[in-house]
Amino acid sequence: MKPTDISDPAYFHKVVDCQWACPAHTPVPEYIRLIAAGRYSDAYMINWKSNVFPGILGRTCDRPCEPACRRGRVEKEPVAICRLKRVTADYKDDVTPLMPKPAAQKNGKRIACIGAGPASLTVARDLAPLGYEVTVFDQDPKAGGFMRTQIPKFRLPETVIDEEVGYVLDLGVKFRHQKIDSLKSIMSKGYDAVFVGTGAPRGRDLDCPGRKEAAANIHIGIDWLASVSFGHIDKIGKRVVVLGGGNTAMDCCRSSRRLGGEDVKVVVRSGFDEMKASPWEKEDAMHEGIPILNYLVPKEFTHDNGKLTGVVFEKVKAVRDEKGRRDLVPTGEPDMLIECDDVLMAVGQENSFPWIEKDVGIAFDRWGMPKVDPVTFESTAKGVFFGGDSAFGPKNIITAVAHGHEAAVSIDMMLNGQDIRQRPSPLTNLVSQKMGIHEWSYDNGVALDTRYKVPLEDAEIALKDIRTEVELGFDVKLAFAEAQRCLNCDAETVFTDKLCIECDACVDICPMDCITFTENGEEGDLRMRLNAPAHDTSQDLYVSGELKTKRIMVKDEDLCLHCGLCAERCPTGAWDMQKFYLEMTHAGAACRSKA
């Protein structure tokens, strides 16, 4: 193998698994260390800069970082990154003085953002302080989009949304409560750029017999959640069936439990393990006494005099065909009737653009999705950008935020006459953490603690009021203990081959047997020859240049604890622990100068 090029920022970025996995590339270990140090405001601001909604995401994020977390490979469970993010929001001081100020002078450019969800608000936040005049339109009376309408208040209190949406609007962003039914009309108003962040607003329906007759008690999940959110709906029948296995279904069933539903069931077509809902959301639902029944396909809504009486399900099983595709085939058992008073349908969301005229120059693919450049987020119409769920279909908040940042970069570059395909490189820094012979400026001791659970409100109290937040969040002590579980993967092991005397000290001390000195070879061959075989090819091998004995140093990045013992036991400083910091370049002078 060739020596690893550590000057490529992607190399060490990848080692910080959580940051690499995060769509917005939030510097996770950095803020976790700040939490451990009790510097909650600073930790919050690192988050705010990167993901705009730390308090919201700290409660609701899909947390792609956690399955990626190295801790989950070293022991059983990853660091509770998401809930630590909430800690920064819960314990910060007043951060308003740390926020950017509204632009003192406008630059004369006007931007329209359609939809006031996370993608649009991110665009607004990135552009408003630069002097752009940003107007955000939404059909709902308050900004926040699905974060406000879809996520039940027992998971995400309204005060948190108000606060964090407020930080954006306080930058001089205009919010207009106005449903846009014509893109043409917006484009004709002389905006310099238009950003579409309208989400995936249509809930899928199920066309089964009885759907029309029993319509009064059959609700589309996301519409129902929005009505609950705005207080238009405050009760539901005693027996509720929720159809669907995604996170919306989990929100529907748990909301039902709080609005009078006593016998609430979730019914999914496929197997329990295949459900789209995050494991922790399923767990939360089951914790509230909601059973999840699987392999049942809805066949018919039964009704009596226009009143829903139940749902008939066909029992199926999963069968794999010769190509390995999974198919659901009837088991032949008799159908099953589940009696109920209400049905909530959470069987998927769709994009919907009835308000975009055919002749504005925006091309759509055959699935009805706009053709959007995955790098610049520009549509086929110049100056019209898409982001969030409306760009590539339903994903999650953090993805929408990442889209927003990129679209803002494109808009800023475009309006400064630059090529928006020349993307700005991220800001990176690599600094030695050595403070003394065996002292590092990070806590390199490895805590053996297993993952701490977030304390919950008593179920009885929690189920009484839909506005009572279930999770109480970590207290300061728990937050510290959980933060100490972080392995500081951004404290990179940096190897300088010229300094190495091949004394083996690092090999002997490494608790994970990551380091091997051996003859060079092809990657596949090397991986099997290491002191501990490196099976996970998604994790890189760090390969040095040739050493004095003609061997090379190979380090398997996979399970490194970043404990720094290799560097402590290295007599020559060939190993050093250096903090890798990567910050995405957002819209502004930096993105333009670096392009």
Partner: protein, 351 residues
């Protein structure tokens, strides 16, 4: 010195031996020696050898004297017995322990000061008596604990860190051990675990006085240009006589060597050492030839490493003294009080 305990986490696919132990189970507390010390590498090699041989840690007694080397038994085999003796007196204490309990595996760890100066006589007599042990000298050619004065094994002409050359003739412990009757004699280098680990394994299985002189660079005081015990010097002047795979009778492994150059050396207990000869003319079973090879290689300015001499059917002290086959602590009254009849018999024999 590292203050941090080594994290308990280990590789999820870590190898286990026949006892179900991982190599981590053979570790001790973290070393307090200087970073990069050759001695730590030797500790690593001992850990590896014991792990690979599936040795039960409680069957091992580690004994040492005084010095950097003699601190190391703390840092390996944390579940084993240990005795840190007086300076240079390890061989005598080891001999005594071995006499009392022949069932344990005796690992004497010493240094060039401990064995070639203050304990020279002790070293000589333990070897001479054929005590069944593994005697490892972690040889760095300097007194590291007192800041780098030349030791008795320091080569003539080797320079100190300040540039002063050593004028005294060195003691070659390998040659001494051969003269004194050690039945397993080897030299190795802390920077070459590929050579060292099989040697330690073979020495452990050897039922007699096994001696390994292991050159172990002192990174603080003897790893500079001009030193003959630095990493660079040893690597540049290493004349390996052979490399060996230690093969137990239970799980033979076949190494992929060029035909004709591999020799199987059968040991009396049925185990085999597969010897990959590097110096074609070296016969490990010929003591005279071994001594002359040592001199020849030394005269060339090189360091002979590998298995220098092996007596595949050695005697040990217990055999020579015809001692009881069981450890003394397992003997009961009936064993150690022969009774009136036996006494009468002895008395009668003397009349």
């Amino acid at each position: 010195m590292t203050y941090l305990p080594k994290p308990k986490f280990h590789h999820p696919d870590i190898e286990t031996n026949e006892l179900g132990f991982t190599h981590r189970d053979y570790e001790g507390p973290i070393s307090t020696l200087c970073a990069g010390c050759g001695h730590d590498s030797i500790s690593g090699a001992i850990i590896r050898a014991c792990f690979e041989l599936s040795i039960e840690p409680h069957r091992v007694a580690k004994l040492s004297g005084i010095g950097c080397s003699s601190k190391t038994p703390t840092y390996f085999l944390g579940q084993s017995h240990g005795f840190n003796t007086v300076h240079g007196r390890m061989p005598s204490v080891l001999t005594g322990a071995n006499m009392a309990n022949r069932d344990l595996l005796y690992l004497g760890v010493s240094g060039d000061g401990d064995s070639a100066s203050i304990g020279f006589g002790q070293f000589a007599h333990a070897i001479r008596r054929g005590v069944n042990m593994v005697y490892i000298v972690e040889n760095n050619g300097v007194y590291g604990l007192t800041k780098g004065q030349f030791s008795a094994t320091s080569d003539k002409g080797s320079k100190s860190k300040k540039g002063v050359a050593n004028r005294d003739t060195p003691i070659d412990l390998v040659a001494m051990a051969l003269q004194l009757g050690a039945t397993f004699v080897a030299r190795s280098f802390s920077g070459d675990k590929g050579q060292l680990v099989p040697l330690i394994k073979a020495a452990i299985e050897h039922k007699g006085a096994a001696f390994i002189d292991c050159i172990s660079p002192c990174v603080a005081f003897n790893n500079h240009e001009g030193s003959t015990k630095s990493f660079d010097y040893v690597r540049a002047h290493n004349a390996a006589l052979n490399s060996l795979d230690f093969i137990t009778g239970r799980a033979p492994i076949t190494a992929d060597y060029a035909p004709g150059s591999v020799e199987d050396v059968k040991l009396h207990d049925g185990t085999t050492i597969k010897l990959h000869k590097l110096a074609e003319d070296h016969d490990v079973r010929d003591k005279g030839a071994a001594i002359s090879a040592l001199h020849r290689i030394q005269a060339r300015g090189e360091i002979a490493t590998g298995l220098v001499y092996l007596d595949s059917d050695p005697d040990d002290l217990h055999a020579n003294l015809n001692t009881i086959a069981r450890p003394l602590n397992t003997l009961n009254d009936a064993d150690i009080v022969p009774g009136v009849a036996a006494l009468a018999k002895i008395n009668a024999a003397l009349r």
